[in-house]
């Protein structure tokens, strides 16, 4: 299943609705990196609320997305990780180090807002 990517102002929102295959994840990475340039977006939100499993491949892809988006000059934030999923992830050593995370979509938007504003001021 393909992940819908919505454009909201200067941000892109990718909302994962169901469990994804590895191919879907790779495709999500390609489309996000491509669209962030096409729409001149300043930030990307990946919403994983609906995911109840996060394996090592998925978290590597999320880290890749964050790094690649950064290279494309925008910010990434992962939102909506379930408490149980979070616990399972850290037990497996999947810390998503260096990736910004927020509680939910609203928080993620607030985070990007603050981040891009402070950047603009610089």
């Amino acid at each position: 299943m393909q992940v819908p990517i919505l454009k909201q102002g200067s941000y892109l929102i990718a909302s994962i609705q169901s469990a994804l295959t590895d191919a879907d994840l790779v495709q999500l990475r390609e489309s996000l990196v491509e669209q962030v340039g096409r729409y001149r977006s300043r930030g990307v939100i990946v919403d994983v609320t609906a995911l109840d499993v996060m394996d090592s491949f998925a978290s590597r892809i999320l880290r890749d997305i964050a790094t690649m988006i950064k290279l494309r000059g925008a910010e990434t934030v992962i939102v909506g990780i379930d408490p149980d999923v979070a616990l399972a992830m850290v037990r497996l050593g999947l810390n998503l180090e260096g990736v910004a995370t927020s509680l939910d979509l609203e928080e993620g938007l607030a985070f990007l807002e603050a981040r891009t504003k402070s950047e603009r001021r610089r």
């Binding site: 408490p83 979070a86 616990l87 850290v90 037990r91 993620g108």
Partner: protein
């Protein structure tokens, strides 16, 4: 053939019952003397030191009567109930299992001696009396000991449950700021429970910053320390920053010695400092009313 055997067995049971009745009558007759002898032996063996002599005597009287009654009726229910009740009263005073088992065995010995004294003229009869007495007496001893241990286990379970309920409050002190004070002994099970509670608390209160205060933790071992690190990471995945406060010199030393990687954690000396740091992260400033400029 089998009929004959049943009849024999019945006869034997009847004989035992008769002997037990006689025995009970003997114990009833010599109640005062045997009871005193027992109390004397208890004090001599330095058992039940937590209780006064009068208390021991009062309890000994009740135990003696229940004991004889159990011998007479062959049922241990009444004695069991009494043992449970007695345990409930004496456990809080620090009476140990060995003391309880000790006094019951002493009573058994005292009574056995009195039987020796009474029947020493007729060894055959003495043997039969002891045959009747010993199984019943052993059963009583086991009942009392098991009752005491069960009662103790129940108390321990209740206390564990109380500690478990007590120890893990997740408190909101300000909008989006939670405090988790960790107190007492943290074992892996409690650590896991704490983490789960914290993560749910973060979600329910939409917390951005969490202060985990470990001032009240006596000691951390490697597995609990690793759990703490995992908690910090998991909270970060939910978008919350964790500040750990109140790491004592001993705990700091332990953590360094066992080589737990605490580089990812923000640590502040005490709870006050932790809350100040959290407020800074959340963009609050606390100003004293005296120093604040008057409101326009």
């Amino acid at each position: 053939m089998s009929d004959e055997r049943t009849a024999l067995a019945e006869l034997a049971t009847q004989a035992t019952a008769t002997l037990l009745t006689e025995l009970v009558a003997h114990l009833r007759r010599n109640r005062t003397q045997l009871r005193e002898e027992w109390v004397h032996r208890i004090t001599a063996a330095r058992l039940l030191t937590a209780m006064s002599r009068e208390e021991i005597f009062a309890e000994a009287t009740s135990v003696y009567d229940s004991y004889v009654e159990a011998l007479e009726t062959g049922t241990v229910e009444a004695l069991q109930a009494y043992a449970r009740n007695l345990s409930e009263r004496i456990i809080p005073r620090g009476v140990e299992t060995n003391e309880v088992v000790g006094i019951v065995l002493l009573l058994r010995d005292v009574l056995a001696r009195s039987l020796f004294a009474k029947y020493h003229g007729d060894v055959g009869l003495l043997n039969r009396v002891l045959d009747a007495y010993e199984p019943a007496a052993n059963r009583i001893a086991i009942t009392v000991a098991v009752g005491f241990v069960q009662q103790r286990e129940r108390v321990i379970r209740e206390q564990q449950e109380a500690i478990r309920l007590l120890s893990t409050p997740v408190l909101q002190v300000r909008e989006r700021l939670l405090i988790l004070p960790m107190i007492g002994l943290i074992d892996p099970q409690r650590a896991r429970q704490l983490t789960e509670q914290l993560l749910r608390g973060i979600r329910a209160n939409r917390a951005k910053v969490v202060v985990i205060d470990v001032t009240g933790v006596a000691a951390l071992d490697a597995s609990v320390a690793n759990h703490l690190v995992q908690t910090v990471d998991a909270a970060r995945l939910l978008g919350a920053t964790v500040i750990v406060t109140g790491l004592s010199p001993e705990i700091a030393q332990t953590l360094v010695n066992i080589g737990v990687d605490l580089a990812r954690m923000t640590t502040v000396g005490d709870l006050q400092g932790g809350i100040e740091e959290a407020e800074r992260l959340l963009g609050y400033t606390v100003v004293s009313l005296k120093e604040a400029p008057p409101a326009a």
